[in-house]
């Protein structure tokens, strides 16, 4: 494992001057992932989203490497096309350098709109890395619900009111769906543990064939928490088992972090404004439903990872 002192010497691929909000989780996640590519030549593709519109406002680009963007729904198809063209040119002897291909999509461009294109890219077995920066709603267009939005969250299209307490449905488990494509590498990680992000990104770059990483990337505007607390909040998401960190390598599931204590989900919900209404009297049943969902998913995950399915001691 490289130390931060060594990693800081790697050339910066996502430079300052982009227009992401102050304290945006995307900036941190992207810098961590691209830093793990170290000396390799990188080609980045992006789905439309906060990251794309904020980093490539004409005539500026924050990407210190090759970059391509085509549309919202086809980040997977675009990057696999680039990879296929590169392979052909290499075969013809017109390119001699080696390249790595990575696509970034938000949860809207990955869970919902870009899903078929991503699924196709994974099935065709292109040598690419797809990174989903999951901020749990369509933040770029004004915080609309996506299939990554957790139950009970207040968004502009699932507003919390007197009758309906926020989003009614639990979130989609995309990492498991990607693992079901039987790709060489699929992982879920969070920025609170940078060593884990670095290790998984490095593995994804090194692996031959498609790799998928899902990173929890908080949005200060949409989640409505105190901006500097980003790392603490993500840590809580991991500790409450809302966002378990695991990886699936060639069909083998492995849990990377097991909380020692049972931390109730309230710890994660409380600092966020989008869940504030859940703490009003009469909405206790929603928190209970979220807790039940989290516990059930945790037990199922433990079983998949070959561990004894039991909740952490209280």
């Amino acid at each position: 494992m490289a130390t931060l002192k060594e990693l800081a010497k790697v050339e910066e691929r996502f430079v300052g001057g982009h227009r992401l909000c102050a304290g945006c989780g995307h900036g941190i996640s992207v810098r961590m992932v691209l830093n793990a590519a170290e000396d390799a030549n990188v080609v980045v593709g992006c789905a439309t989203g906060c990251l794309e519109v904020a980093s490539t406002i004409y005539p500026y680009t924050a990407w210190n490497c090759s970059f391509i963007h085509s549309a919202f729904e086809n980040a997977g198809a675009t990057i696999s096309g680039v990879e296929a063209a590169y392979k052909s040119l290499k075969k013809q002897g017109k390119i001699d350098k080696d390249f790595k291909f990575v696509a970034f999509g938000g949860d809207g461009g990955t869970y919902d709109i870009g899903f078929q294109s991503l699924s196709g890219a994974m099935e065709r077995g292109h040598n690419i890395v797809y990174v989903c920066l999951d901020n749990e709603a369509y933040m770029n267009t004004g915080i609309q619900r996506s299939s990554a939005t957790p139950m009970g969250a207040d968004t502009t299209t699932s507003p919390a009111g007197k009758v309906v307490p926020g989003k009614q449905q639990p979130r989609k488990d995309l990492t498991a769906i990607m693992a079901a494509h039987n790709i060489p590498y699929a992982a879920q990680t969070a920025i609170s543990n940078w060593q884990d992000v670095h290790r998984k990104a490095k593995k994804a770059f090194d692996v031959e064939g498609p790799a998928f990483i899902n990173i929890l990337s908080p949005c200060p505007r949409g989640w409505r928490y105190n901006t500097p607390d980003i790392v603490e909040l993500v840590k809580k998401a991991v500790e409450t088992r809302f966002w378990p960190m695991y990886e699936v390598e060639n069909g083998k599931w492995k849990l990377n972090y097991k909380p020692k204590k049972y931390v109730p989900i309230e710890e994660f919900l409380k600092p966020q404004g989008r869940f504030r209404h859940l703490f009003a009297p009469g909405n206790e049943h929603v928190i209970k439903a979220i807790q039940k969902e989290v516990d059930e998913r945790w037990l199922a995950l433990l079983e998949r990872c070959g561990e004894t399915p039991e909740l952490p001691p209280k």
Binding site: L4, G16, A22, Y60, A62, T227, D229
Partner: protein
Amino acid sequence: MTPFNRNFGQGGTRKAISPDMNWRELTKAGNIYEPGNSASYETGDWRTIRPVWNKDRCIHCLICWRYCPDASIISTDGKFDSFDYKHCKGCGICAKVCPVHAIDMFSEDEIDRQEEASKNEK
């Protein structure tokens, strides 16, 4: 004939894009040929609170560098060097993640007022 034109029809000349340009002079398909040129766009004026480095307390662990969303912590030879105030948006994450509290956040207004006061004294 070359197999494909690397400039995608741009030819040999590349002019810097400026606001008074005609649409015909812009690059085709909105391509940008200079990587990382957003560094010349300064987002530092978004900032309302400013991080200030405390040299004596710093242990050069570079955790602040790792968690900066704007790549605004400059390190040289694996050591903390300075803040890039031209791009720092003042989110305050660096001050929060610092294990030894070597970064303090100050209000920009307060700093401006102090600077003005010291100027008036002279």
